[in-house]
Symmetry: C2
């Protein structure tokens, strides 16, 4: 972990950033290994370009921080319920230039950023990801293996989904069973379970609800969890009984689009070009207007992180980057379809970590 | 909901705040009923003192926002993947005074606040809770009933805990069973499950782990979930077989302290005085230094919200306020104890929504 912090300090110095101020979340975990709770009490890593780091924690979190093993070179400081944590954060920066440039953790709550801005009024602020994104986007082989294990686990869950989908069962009942399976397959946490049946499938982030499955439904099942800190995320499509009109043709086009996007992954290709590979095929097939979202998102310690596979993102892909490739087709009031695999950029191209067949799976109707 | 938004506008005008900018979370849900997903794409309610409100959502979230039923008087605007949402937020404020005062949602991610600060450079920023705290702290009778139902549900879970605690079972195994029970009793979400056995109990936020229960353990079980949007949170203590040395005396003092704090709850009493009621008794009994946290936190749409029951908080309690009363005693390397009930301030004093007996429950050892 000391190495990761040292690399962060180098990146700060190169970017002209004096320090990063990071709350609970993926950056903190990446740099220190500490999985802090998101609380209304401030937990803050002050990571400096000059290598003098401080981790501020509420006193009652100190045992958890110590158990996590704070890396060498990080001073652990705790504060009592009635102390002012912003003054302590400012004190960890007093010897910096009078107008320091500071990076705020992207997901740090605004209540904390406003407190820090007030206590360090001369500072200029930018997003910590300006520095950390490059460190986090390119995964180590160890991280890729963690993502591979998580992908295999979620594939095992999908393999068991057909026997959970029966006419008359509600999305919510199916969703609970899937959540149990996500844990049983080795994840420590369920991040989301989307079971979007029939017309509900046309909302990409449909909230799994009371609707009961019936014959003729297309069902989008998009599920993910966290395993040893790294996220899984995979979508497959199911059909109860006979598929609805137009479903098979759309899915054939979608499979080709997802395949084309995966084939477009290689070092040097831009994120936007991967999006375009899927989008162009769907547009040619007449489904372009129904593909209402970007093609994918990075994945790692967070479910969604950089790089985003979206039009306009000219980032050149590099080996070790990991992201979803998940085009979808959404027919309002009728059905939705989405195919999602996690892909890792290799020297040779792209490798899919999810390997289950991508055709719609017919279940008893 | 229109009424809640109208009250918020009145409160903004009274506080000299031109608009609140709120992301996904409890304030948004309270004002609009919309339970938005926390995403890397901006979702933002621009709620104005003059009543001209805009809800900005990513295009693919529009179906969820529409299904939630955006209140009358709120213009729903969506944006495409490649649009600039900060420009849209600024556009919803262009007719305000040149140097507006804006409230940022307390839990809005810093990446969004920094984007907004850049696109609206002349604004002064404060925490949205400056305005919303008064609206959210005093619960309506409808909200109190929701908290009561959640409290009863978590009490039923605690009533079943003794049969889950057996020597040889790991904290994690027990925790999974409890999580299942939290859902089975009617919560839509498990918020946390702390099973802290033996010496682990001395860390108030211990992460439920691999340690196996053994005879002579004290076990702190602190659990909560969300039911119809409102949170439950209750802690009870259990002992496997014979209690460890010193345990019974400490718990007797703790029960008296928790009782005294609950008895101190009444309209007009300060939050600090409730904290002092528990702390003074524990200090007199010789356990003051071992009570390492505040006495409680508000609860409602969020697990932890205002008012905080802590030294220095001179807020006068009012009928309808709801919070935890949860003193604890922590003996490093030996055991911990905590008793937690949710209390609602009534005209007559305070009423505990959790009603299970508070003595340690002996389980088979």
């Amino acid at each position: 972990m000391a190495t990761t912090l040292a690399r962060a300090s180098e990146a700060m110095a190169a970017a002209g950033v004096d320090a990063l101020l990071l709350g609970p979340g993926a950056d903190l975990r990446h740099l220190t290994g500490y999985h802090a709770l998101a609380l209304e009490r401030l937990t803050l890593l002050v990571a400096r370009a000059d290598g003098r780091h401080t981790l501020l924690v509420p006193r009652l979190e100190r045992p958890r921080a110590e158990a996590a093993g704070v890396p060498e070179g990080v001073e652990l400081r705790d504060f009592a319920e009635t102390d002012d944590p912003y003054a302590l954060a400012a004190a960890a920066l007093t010897d910096l230039p009078p107008r320091p440039t500071l990076g705020a953790g992207d997901r740090l709550w605004s209540t904390f950023l406003l407190g820090l801005q007030e206590s360090i009024p001369a500072a200029s602020w930018l997003r910590a990801s300006t520095v950390t994104r490059a460190l986090r986007m390119r995964k180590t082989s160890h991280e890729v293996e963690a993502l591979r294990r998580a992908a295999r686990a979620i594939d095992r869950v999908h393999a068991g989904v057909p026997r959970l989908l029966r006419p008359g069962r509600s999305e919510r009942e199916v969703g609970r069973d899937i959540a149990d399976r996500i844990l049983a397959e080795g994840h420590e946490r369920v991040n989301f379970v989307i079971v979007a049946s029939g017309p509900n499938g046309a909302s990409p982030h449909h909230e799994t609800g009371a609707r009961r499955l019936r014959a003729g439904d297309g069902v989008v099942v998009d599920i993910g969890g966290t395993m040893d800190g790294y996220c899984s995320d995979c979508t497959r499509d199911y059909v109860v009984g006979r598929s609805p009109e137009g479903y098979a043709d759309a899915h054939t086009a979608l499979e080709a689009a997802q395949e084309a996007a995966c084939a477009a992954v290689r070092p040097g290709a831009t994120a936007a070009s991967v999006d375009a590979a899927a989008r162009d095929l769907l547009t040619d097939a007449g489904y372009g207007d129904l593909f209402v979202h970007r093609t994918g998102h990075g994945i790692g310690l967070e479910e969604h992180e950089e790089p985003y596979i979206v039009a306009g993102n000219d980032l050149a892909l590099e080996p070790g980057m990991t992201f979803s490739v998940e085009p979808g087709v959404y027919l309002p009031a009728r059905f939705g379809q989405r195919i999602e695999d996690i892909v890792v950029v290799t020297d040779a191209g792209g490798e899919r970590l999810n390997t289950l067949d991508r055709a719609p799976v017919a279940v008893g109707g």
